[in-house]
């Protein structure tokens, strides 16, 4: 059986989700992308520094989850912990515990034993293990749990990731699993496997029927909507060309006398044509994800350049706390707005600077992580600072003399810029009111004043324009991980078909072509097998 993967929690809701892998390679795939983080002595000590009186060493996960009570007041958007708690309770993994701290405590009781374990999942089945998911585009802390066959929902080896973040992160994990050999699960496939392995209980069965029917109805609606657009048109064209080729080759096999090799000579050219069309669809995948989930915009910069002020100015309300003290924002602040119909997901980050403060360090690290998955970076600078390219404003420094400061700032700045060297970046010169009170755009540099809401709309329009010219608006986009995986598999199969042509085995070529056709069918919802025979007779004059 292939190993399947899917997001197991409802999409869109909440900041925590579960990605489930099931099949004989589940563990191997999971270990390919998940590294177990074992608490070392040093980390425990660091944790003790944070909250020595309240947090016992073995409960602390040094960077992943912040203990309650240390968030700056007013920052309430980050309700991940609550979600996590709910999920844990729902899933009832470890215990009936009512809060996450307790449950985590129970899960990691065997801390001492863990010190001797490797950083691979699998040694402790049915236990939540803390660690880091490492994907090519981002990494994130979270939990993984390994259920050893047959003691799992499906009766197969199962690994579930419980991870922060919304659809983008979860999609990313699914994609990473697919890269490591998993196949995106079909609707109801986990349930089907559970049944086939004799794992479904009466309790599971109740209500599953309704869910299946609702899901299949919604899948039909979704497919209909998808196929109605420009993307659907392109898919249909590709599918039709592939289908025509398959029919021609099939006809030549079953009616060798009549077909007289009409089709074979054109085969390589047709296949190559289809491959390049699919390639261009795959290339639009990133824009596709943007279209679905919005554009992720991360505000970065040194401390006290006015990132939070800019955030508030865009949101038109006091969302983030703004003070004159450098390093006010220590954690991420996320908020979304809709601008001209496009969703902007804004993330305000802690100002980047060297700090002794443990909390601030964590905040800085998070800011760096956010940059990795950003679609657009707003690099905020203080225009009022000398020469206009320095980040640190006059109010920031409270240590050492100004020369030292400048050298340090320059160093920090170049390090900061390295972080987003491969990203689309807009430079935002804030506090322009303090300089020459001129606002507007010059290439990718924007002069604004967050305080007086000057130049904000120019910036937003520019973001919107960039988004639009990215090819997103036309709708010819790949919209989900399943689709992307299906397209990639279709192309792999087509490549195999090309490579196999030299063997003079039309029968094998057709296996590859049908594999490609099945993969495309997962997107379009068509199944070709029945129609092939119909088409052979309507397209070709065969039979005697």
């Amino acid at each position: 059986m292939s190993t399947i993967v899917a997001i197991a929690t409802a999409l869109g809701a909440g900041g925590i989700g579960i990605v489930r892998l099931s099949g004989e390679d589940a563990l191997q795939i999971a270990n390919g992308i998940f590294a177990v983080v074992r608490s070392s002595k040093k980390e425990m000590l660091r944790a003790e520094e944070v909250k020595p009186e309240e947090v016992k060493p073995e409960e602390v996960n040094p960077e992943g989850i912040k203990p309650e009570g240390i968030k700056p007041e007013g920052i309430s958007s980050d309700d991940k912990n609550n979600n996590h708690k709910n999920i844990i309770e729902e899933r009832n993994f470890c215990t009936q515990s009512k809060n996450i701290e307790e449950s985590r405590n129970l899960c990691t009781q065997t801390k001492n034993a863990q010190n001797f374990l490797s950083n691979q999942l699998g040694q402790e089945p049915s236990k939540l293990i803390f660690g880091e998911v490492r994907c090519s585009e981002f990494s994130d802390k979270g939990y993984a749990v390994y259920f050893k066959a047959p003691n799992s929902f499906t009766g197969e080896d199962v690994v579930e990731f419980q991870i922060h973040g919304g659809v983008r992160i979860l999609d990313g994990i699914v994609r990473e699993c697919v890269k490591h050999g998993a196949v995106p699960a079909q609707k109801g496939e986990f349930t089907k496997r559970a049944f086939l392995n004799g794992k479904m209980t009466l309790a599971d069965a109740e209500g599953v029927v309704d869910m299946i029917n609702a899901e299949s109805a919604s899948a039909v609606r979704a497919a209909y909507k998808l196929m109605d657009g420009e993307f659907g048109k392109q898919m249909k064209t590709i599918e039709a060309r592939l289908f025509e080729l398959i029919c021609g080759l099939e006809a030549s096999l079953d009616f060798p006398d009549e077909m007289e090799d009409e089709v074979l000579p054109q085969t390589p050219a047709v296949i190559n044509g289809i491959i390049s069309e699919i390639d261009s669809l795959i290339q639009t995948a990133d824009e596709g994800r943007i279209a679905k989930h919005g554009l992720k915009i991360v505000l970065v910069g040194s401390t006290n350049v006015g990132k939070s002020s800019l955030m508030n100015a865009i949101l038109k309300r006091e969302r983030a706390i703004v003070t004159a003290t450098a390093g006010t924002t220590r954690d991420l602040v996320s908020e979304s707005i809709e601008y001209k119909g496009v969703k902007f997901n804004l993330v305000d980050t802690a100002g980047i600077r060297e700090s002794e403060d443990e909390i601030e360090q964590i905040g800085v690290k998070r800011a760096k992580d956010e940059i990795k998955s950003a679609d657009l970076v707003l690099y905020v600078k203080d225009a009022s600072a000398s020469s206009g390219n320095s980040g640190n404003g006059g109010n920031s420094g409270n240590s050492g003399n100004s020369t030292q400061n400048t050298i340090q700032n320059a160093k920090q700045q170049s390090e900061l810029e390295k972080l987003f060297s491969d990203k689309v970046v807009f430079i935002v010169e804030n506090k322009s009111d303090k300089r020459d009170a001129e606002y507007g755009r010059n290439c990718d540099t924007f002069k604004i004043s967050a305080k007086f809401s000057k130049g904000i709309n120019v910036l937003l329009d520019a973001i919107y324009e960039m988004f639009k010219t990215g090819g997103v608006e036309s709708g010819e986009v790949v919209t989900s991980e399943r689709h992307l995986s299906a397209l990639a598999r279709a192309n792999d199969a087509l490549e195999n078909a090309i490579n196999g042509l030299q063997n003079n085995s039309t029968d094998c070529t057709l296996i590859d072509l049908k594999c490609a056709s099945d993969a495309l069918g997962e997107i379009t919802g068509t199944t070709a097998s029945e129609e092939i025979i119909e088409q052979i007779f309507s397209r070709f004059c065969v039979g005697k």
């Binding site: 086939l196 030549s252 079953d254």
Partner: protein, 611 residues
């Protein structure tokens, strides 16, 4: 009981059913309208072809008669699709129709458990919904525990040539007119299908010098038991229609009963009449016409590609317009034939009529077409009638096991809107269901069933041992001078390291004939070919086995036959109706029913779990 099993009909299905029943050990009666029409080939004089050749090999591997009988009757044989991959290599042989009839008669005569009777069956007798025997046209009753219907195109047969129609079976034999009404009384749905055959022309009236010669090939025969390669005795010929032919057809199309509506039966698309081809594919400048001998000393030839139901004067005009046939004389005119048949979704996958216990059916009566399709079903219906009597579970071949399985599953699960023809495109596991490994797939079953006798089984075991032996050898290095010589011939680079037979087999440029000199002649062509396919296509075969394995998990989940799907909450109405009609045996079969969606299957899964 007079007999254990009665088979109605002596065509290709009836013969295999009767032989299977008798060979398994049951007293069997074969009732047919005329002894002369036993194993008649009323249409083309050939056996096999794409996918059909696979069926013949499978029938043979199970211990059926068709392959053996064909080999004794062949005039020419060739392997089709030589350049298109091992899954679609297909044997096709030209048979002498009279020899085929005679050879089959000898096979029937050789069975001590089997009696023949020349008569017409008027009724199927039943007691409490179970078959108890038959009543003949003269009122005589014969008792039996099971009956196999294999009436071909004889039930209420009606032939059509242009404006002339008459009640008739094929080739002028009398039709069967009584059984249809009885079947309707038994609650069986009867449909009307149609097929056709081209004219027969006197050989001496054709100018073969104007045609292309079609030679036979030096290949093995159908049956595993035929040791010698066949000597090709006769040639076929190829000629073409032309614009004049097409003009004649177009200007007379209003006289075609297919076009003016006087034929109501549903004809097969893969056997289009020449008028169909000309009208539907108007841009085609010519169509192929194959001239095939009806027999070694028969003065008639079969004109393949020119089937028609146009009036005789039009037929003459169009045949005469073809190169080489300008002065041809007609022995028999082309005709269409309509006949009664069952809707095969009334059958279980064991080919049992679901409404009447102990009643089985096979062949064209089941909505198929072709000698090979008929024979395959006859064999299976015969076996399952035996198992019914013996209270054994039905013998059902999966789609992953044999073309026979695909054929019967398609018929009984999906039904068919036209006479069903086997095609390789219908077999999803085609790369595994090859003609070279039919014995490996089925002979063990045939032996267990009692159809494969010791001589065949011993020979089969020896072949398996040889394959294994050669496979072991294939991983040993070959002498370098041998492999280098071959690679030089193929203009390929010669590697430093020594090569094995398996290495060579994997190379695209290396063909079967290149390997033959490298391998001891004690390993037959068939052994070498099978191993070569196994090694060369290892990757594809591995993938196929995975797919088969996944599918088998659904096939393995049985569904009670008495399930009332109307009571299952969550199934859509259409699915409920279809499932109640088909009564699938397992989830795999259920998933193939048209109108049953994956969501319905999921609902069914949940329901079964709850039970």
């Amino acid at each position: 009981m007079d007999y254990d099993i009665i088979v109605i009909g002596g065509g290709h299905a009836g013969c295999e059913a009767a032989l299977a029943s008798a060979r398994i050990g049951h007293s069997t009666l074969l009732v047919c309208l005329s002894y002369d029409a036993i194993a008649l080939m009323p249409c083309n004089p050939s056996i096999g072809g794409t996918a059909k050749g696979h069926l013949v090999r499978e029938i043979d591997a199970l211990g059926g008669e068709m392959g053996v009988c064909a080999d004794k009757s062949l005039l020419q044989i060739k392997m089709l699709n030589r350049t298109k991959g091992p899954a679609v290599y297909s044997l096709r042989g030209q048979a002498d129709k009279k020899w085929y009839h005679n050879n089959m008669m000898s096979a029937l005569d050789a069975e001590s458990n089997l009696d023949l009777l020349e008569s017409e069956v008027a009724r199927i007798e039943t007691e409490n919904g179970k078959v108890s025997g038959v009543e003949l046209a003269n009122g005589e009753r014969i008792t039996a525990k099971a009956v196999v219907i294999a009436t071909g195109v004889y039930l209420n047969g009606r032939t059509i040539i242009g404006e002339e129609t008459k009640s008739s079976g094929p080739s002028g034999y009398a039709p069967a007119t009584m059984l249809s009404n009885n079947l309707l009384e038994l609650g069986i749905e009867i449909r009307r299908f149609k097929t056709g055959t081209p004219a027969r022309i006197y050989r001496d009236s054709i100018d073969f010098s104007k045609m292309e010669i079609q030679e036979g090939e030096d290949v093995y025969s159908f049956s595993f038991m035929t040791e010698e390669k066949l000597v090709n005795l006769m040639q076929c010929y190829l000629t073409y229609t032309n614009q004049t032919t097409h003009e004649i057809i177009k200007s007379n199309i209003h006289r075609s009963p297919l076009y003016n509506g006087s034929i109501k039966g549903i004809g097969p698309r893969y056997c289009p009449s020449i008028e169909d081809k000309v009208m539907r594919f108007a841009d085609k400048l010519r169509h192929q016409v194959f001239i095939e001998p009806e027999g070694y000393d028969n003065d008639e030839v079969y004109v393949q590609g020119m089937s028609s139901s146009l009036p005789k004067d039009v037929q003459e005009a169009m045949y005469h317009s073809i190169s080489g046939m300008e002065n041809c004389r007609f022995a028999k005119y082309a005709y269409a034939i309509e006949y009664d048949c069952i809707n095969p979704i009334e059958l279980s996958p064991a080919l049992a009529v679901k409404k009447v216990t102990g009643l089985y059916s096979a062949g064209q009566f089941n909505g198929s077409s072709g000698y090979e399709e008929a024979a395959a079903q006859g064999l299976m219906a015969g076996i399952n009638a035996c198992h019914y009597i013996e209270n054994k579970p039905a013998f059902i071949l999966g789609r992953d096991k044999a073309y026979i399985g695909v054929l019967i599953d398609d018929l009984t699960t999906k039904g068919t809107p036209e006479p069903y023809r086997m095609m390789t495109a219908r077999a999803e596991h085609r790369i595994y269901l090859r003609q070279d490994n039919a014995d490996q797939r089925l002979t063990e079953d045939g032996y267990r069933l009692g159809l494969v006798k010791e001589d065949r089984y011993t020979r089969y075991k020896a072949k398996l041992a040889q394959i294994e032996e050669l496979e072991n050898l294939s991983h040993k290095a070959l002498p370098k001078e041998q492999t280098s010589a071959l690679l030089t011939v193929l203009k390929e680079a010669i590697p430093e390291h020594p090569l094995t037979l398996a290495d060579l087999m994997r190379r695209p440029s290396v063909q079967f004939e290149h390997l033959r000199p490298l391998v001891d002649s004690k390993y037959s062509d068939n052994v070498l070919e099978t191993l070569q396919v196994q090694i060369k296509y290892e990757g594809y075969l591995k993938k196929e086995f995975q797919a088969i394995h996944e599918q088998q998990r659904l096939e393995g989940k049985a569904i009670p036959v008495d399930l009332d799907y109307k009571t299952i909450k969550g199934l859509r109405i259409e699915a409920q109706q279809k499932l109640n009609k088909i009564k699938p045996l397992n989830l795999g079969q259920a998933s193939r029913i048209s109108g049953v969606s994956p969501a319905d299957i999921a609902v069914l899964i949940v329901y079964l779990q709850k039970r």
